[in-house]
């Protein structure tokens, strides 16, 4: 995609999320930077997401992880919404195992519950995923045509054995 297009959309995305800044500030909550470890995780690996939250103690903090594939331009519907634990004063953390084999990036957004109201973090984190160690990514799992062909070959093989046995009788 052209750079101009990307910049335009970045402005829009920032504006969508930026609209939530004020509401979060009004509650007294201040969201820090979202950090993800490792910095460039692989698809289907387990990652640790952390965020400092100051200005209050939310009753619950959750992180939402969307997995997308930048090559095909698709975001997958299985969005993980995981509860974060308070690991030290003002610091929340969650471990999440990524689901999709062919995701190329993830988008993390965080929300905190304060006085019964959910306040989304104004910032979100996009993390590019590294290639899998086998360099292949998803080959479709059991959806590949190859899997079907194997079944057919096995069925034909069994049938031929049955035919041969009957003929021998």
């Amino acid at each position: 995609m052209k750079n101009g297009k990307k910049l335009m959309i970045c402005a829009v995305i920032f504006s969508i999320f930026g609209a939530t800044i004020c509401s979060a500030v009004n509650t007294g909550l201040t969201f820090g930077e979202i950090s993800v470890s490792p910095l460039s995780p692989a698809a289907q690996s387990t990652i640790t997401i952390s965020i400092p939250i100051n200005g209050g103690t939310p009753s619950e903090v959750r992180v939402k992880i969307e997995e997308c594939n930048g090559r095909t331009g698709i975001c997958y519907p299985k969005i993980q919404n995981v509860s974060m634990s308070l690991v030290s004063v003002g610091n929340y953390q969650a471990k999440v195992t990524l689901i999709h084999t062919d995701a190329t990036y993830i988008n993390c957004t965080i929300a905190a519950k304060m006085n019964g109201t959910w306040m989304p973090s104004a910032k979100w984190k996009v993390v590019n995923l590294s290639e899998n160690s086998n360099g292949n990514g998803d080959n479709g799992g059991n959806k590949t045509p190859g899997f079907d062909v194997v079944l057919i070959v096995i069925a034909i093989g069994i049938s031929l054995i049955m035919i041969r046995r009957k003929r021998e009788k």
């Binding site: 995305i13 519907p77 959806k143 003929r167």
Partner: protein, 180 residues
């Protein structure tokens, strides 16, 4: 009974097995292609049916606010909106991640952001799936954006999962307009 020395029954079993596996193998990847009607909620809260728009070519964009490719897709849909008469082609963008927490106000914020940030008016029909995610399950189970082009009778003419540039969509729209 034999056919050239081969018994008929095993051969029939073999043929049956072959066709059975050919037909049913890979069923997990198949998805609805019926063009079935659905109800969505417009931004003003009104319940609308896909069938309300039959009689025109419908471009259905199953999208989500928290989906970057969907934002890029808006630019391509805008070109369709500009280049085709609304008497011929209707665009419906339906947020199908309502069951994941997306709301009408988030969708409205997105439309406003396009208008305020890059002066782009998304001048077509927007709506939301229900909380049970019926549209998502039927039309966008793989992910978003998922695009469909329906002919004037409401049959699915074309579908594509993932971002699709205007040029590719326009080819399919032209085809379906001519076909009708």
């Amino acid at each position: 009974m034999t056919i050239s020395g081969i018994k008929k029954k095993p051969v029939l079993i073999l043929v049956f097995l072959f066709f059975f596996l050919t037909v049913f193998a890979g069923c997990t990847e198949q998805k609805s292609n019926t063009g079935e009607d659905f109800v969505f909620k417009s931004l003003d809260g009104e319940a609308k049916h896909l069938s309300d728009f039959y009689g025109k070519v419908i471009v259905l964009d199953c999208m989500a606010v928290n989906c970057q490719p969907c934002m890029y897709q808006m630019l391509e849909l805008k070109k369709i909106s500009e280049n085709y008469s609304k008497n011929d082609v209707i665009i419906l963008s339906v947020d199908v991640w309502v069951s994941s927490g997306e709301t009408a106000s988030m969708l409205q914020d997105m439309i406003d952001a396009f208008k305020n940030q890059i002066n782009l008016t998304l001048d077509w029909t927007f709506g939301l799936d229900g909380l049970n995610g019926t549209i998502q399950k039927t039309y966008a189970s793989t992910g978003v954006p998922t695009l469909y082009i329906f002919d004037k009778k409401g049959n699915i003419y074309y579908s594509h999962v993932g971002y699709e540039p205007y040029t590719d969509l326009a080819v399919k729209i032209d085809e379906v307009i001519i076909k009708n």
